[in-house]
């Protein structure tokens, strides 16, 4: 197991290094002068000072070496070109938690509700409950999250004034974004859980369990549940990793000061140091989540755990 984790870590570091390098050269080579926006009207001398401050007077490769050295030795993701004194590290420190909170809460809802609905649907196959759930799932999968968010805003907040439209900080502000975020996920988890439960239901070991004299409830709890969960766990990996990416649109719609909100803002501002820093940070989060989930997966399915442990 330890060796497996070690191997994954080495891969992850190589991946991150490649991402950081690619991002740096792509963004640094992007069209549009990042300085021009800020210093366009300044006297030439001031421009030079600023250029020197951000190292823009040096060739790209040298800048890359300096940046990477600073990143690795001090964990400095870089300073904003547009907002003097504001560093990527500040944004990360202040706003990651907000994005993570929304994403995680939504994910927990997605998984728990999805698993429950999927099980109910599969165990009642062909009955009205199953049909209703299936129709709702198809609808929910076909509605983009921003459309759903707009509908929620319009009816719950604007028409019926049940919750505030915008704003951030209190519990009530979470309701709309989390609901809008969770919906699509609930639908897909329900769908996958239903399929996976149905396939487990037709497995021989379920009949064995019944033949042993297990009651219906026991068969579901002890034999069906855990086995039908395995394919779902594989989906959770990318989902955890995608928490931050998925929050982009929700943060933008509800003006939530999360990581995605600032990331998008930096992109539209052409704030290139910020974009590089945040991109690398995003990639780190993503890769780390994938590793954690891989390890978690090993704990759930003993076949994988033992097979990997023996390698």
């Amino acid at each position: 197991m330890l060796r497996f984790i070690g191997k994954r870590l080495v891969y992850a570091i190589i991946t991150l290094f490649l991402i950081a390098t690619a991002t740096f050269f792509l963004v640094a080579g992007a069209p549009g002068d990042p300085i021009a926006a800020k210093v366009g009207q300044m006297p030439e001398q001031a421009q030079e000072i600023i250029s020197a401050k951000y190292g823009l007077d040096k060739p790209v490769f040298e800048r890359y070496l300096i940046y990477m050295k600073r990143l690795i030795t001090t964990g400095d993701f870089g300073e904003s070109i547009i907002y003097t004194g504001k560093s990527a590290n500040d944004v990360i420190k202040e706003n990651t938690l907000i994005s993570a909170k929304i994403g995680l809460i939504a994910l927990v809802f997605q998984i728990t509700i999805g698993i429950c609905l999927g099980m109910i649907s599969a165990l009642n196959r062909g009955k009205p409950v199953d049909n209703i759930i299936r129709v709702l799932v198809v609808l929910a999968i076909c509605i983009p999250s921003f459309v759903f968010a707009a509908l929620l805003q319009y009816f719950l907040a604007f028409k019926w004034k049940l919750v505030p439209v915008f704003g951030w900080g209190e519990l009530k502000h979470y309701i709309l974004p989390v609901t809008a975020y969770a919906l699509g996920g609930i639908a897909s988890y329900t769908k996958y859980m239903r399929n996976s439960t149905l396939s487990v239901l037709s497995e021989d070991y379920v009949i064995t369990a019944k033949a042993k004299g297990c009651s219906k409830g026991r068969v579901v709890r002890k034999h069906i549940f855990r086995n039908s969960l395995i394919p779902i766990i594989t989906m959770i990996g990318p989902a955890v990793a995608g928490i931050f990416a998925g929050s982009f649109v929700i943060e933008k719609m509800f003006s939530i000061p999360g990581l995605g909100f600032y990331y998008m803002k930096s992109v539209s501002d052409n704030d290139y140091t910020m974009v590089i820093g945040l991109t690398i940070f995003f990639a780190m989060l993503f890769v780390a989540s994938l590793i954690i989930v891989d390890i978690l997966y090993g704990f759930v399915d003993p076949r994988i755990r033992v097979a990997k442990g023996r390698k």
Binding site: L26, V27, A30, I141, F146, F248
Partner: protein, 316 residues
């Protein structure tokens, strides 16, 4: 019927000698009783046709596509024509979907935007399909170092959040339809490659392919006769399910401002514009969204029907 009942029934009828004439298996052979056999694809088509939801999806999709192409002619308006005097008109007999905040006819815009969205969806799917199945087939058939390299590449790209790739690429390449298609397909082929490779590896091990090999069939024949027909099904389902995925992504990206930019438009861009007017003119969001939902729904129905038809065992 119990044995007793049968006994009495049998005894009621007189048994004549002639009934005991031996006829053996003549006239009937256990093997002839089978049903008339259909070719695989004819059978797939028969199953697809009998699936009402799939046919509904097909009809919906054809209806939407027809609307997109003849819509502007029907309305007789230009999608870029600005008329400040008719800003934000609600739907009426003149402007079927109303007008937007610049007085442009929303119906015509939805039709033109829809063409862009569907066009992007198809382009991305095509690129994904071509690159994905070529690399997948290469990895699966060649194996060895080629397979290793392709799989490493897949792993690398699979380890990246796709939104970030799209964001960076749109920064680097500028925001255009081309960069959007490029960015979206760059990440999407990985899934197809893995799937095609997996299928090929699996089929290669099947007894019938081994048998064909043992009988001396060459590689080309094995690919055409065995691998292609057996991977085609799963690829077809993947393709049908990908188109709505890309339409979804396009609308999402346009919505957060990374996709299609004015004066061009797409469903996502229209929805984004509509959302800003949501509080006062909800219809401006409603119509583009309605068409997105219908289109995606129809693709899903077709895809589900197709996968059921291709593999009836999966169904229940």
């Amino acid at each position: 019927m119990s044995e007793n009942q049968q006994k009495t029934m049998v005894q009621e009828v007189p048994l004549t000698d002639d009934m005991f004439e031996r006829i053996g298996t003549e006239g009937l052979s256990g093997e002839d009783i089978g049903k008339q056999s259909l070719t695989y694809w004819a059978d797939v088509w028969r199953r697809f046709r009998s699936n009402k939801m799939a046919i509904l999806g097909l009809i919906l999709l054809i209806a939407v596509i027809c609307l997109l192409f003849i819509g502007p002619t029907l309305s007789g308006k230009d999608y870029q024509f600005i008329d400040a005097s008719i800003k934000n008109t609600p739907p009426n007999s003149e402007y079927w979907f109303g007008t937007d905040d610049m007085g442009r006819d929303l119906f015509t815009r939805v039709c033109v935007g829809g063409r862009v969205s569907i066009y992007i969806g198809l382009c991305c799917t095509l690129v994904m399909f071509v690159i994905g199945s070529l690399l997948g087939a290469l990895a699966g058939l060649k194996g060895g170092i080629v397979d290793d390299l392709i799989m490493r590449l897949c792993e690398l790209i699979g380890n990246l959040p796709y939104l970030i790739i799209v964001v960076i690429l749109s920064m680097v390449m500028g925001r255009s339809m081309f960069s959007l298609v490029f960015a979206m397909s760059l990440t999407a082929w990985v899934g197809t490659t893995r799937m095609v490779r997996g299928q090929i590896l699996q089929i290669k091990e099947q007894d019938y392919v081994q048998a064909a090999k043992a009988l001396g069939a060459d590689t080309g024949r094995i690919i055409i006769k065995h691998l292609l027909p057996n991977t085609l099904g799963i690829i077809m389902v993947d393709v049908t399910m990908s188109v709505p995925g890309f339409i979804f992504s396009e609308s999402f990206l346009s919505y957060i401002g990374l996709g299609i930019r004015p004066p061009e438009t797409s469903w996502g861009a229209l929805a984004s514009a509509g959302q800003q007017q949501l509080m006062f003119y909800p219809y401006q969001l409603f119509f583009p969204c309605l068409l997105i939902v219908i289109t995606i729904l129809s693709f899903h129905l077709i895809g589900d029907g197709l996968s059921d038809a291709l593999d009836p065992k999966l169904r229940q």
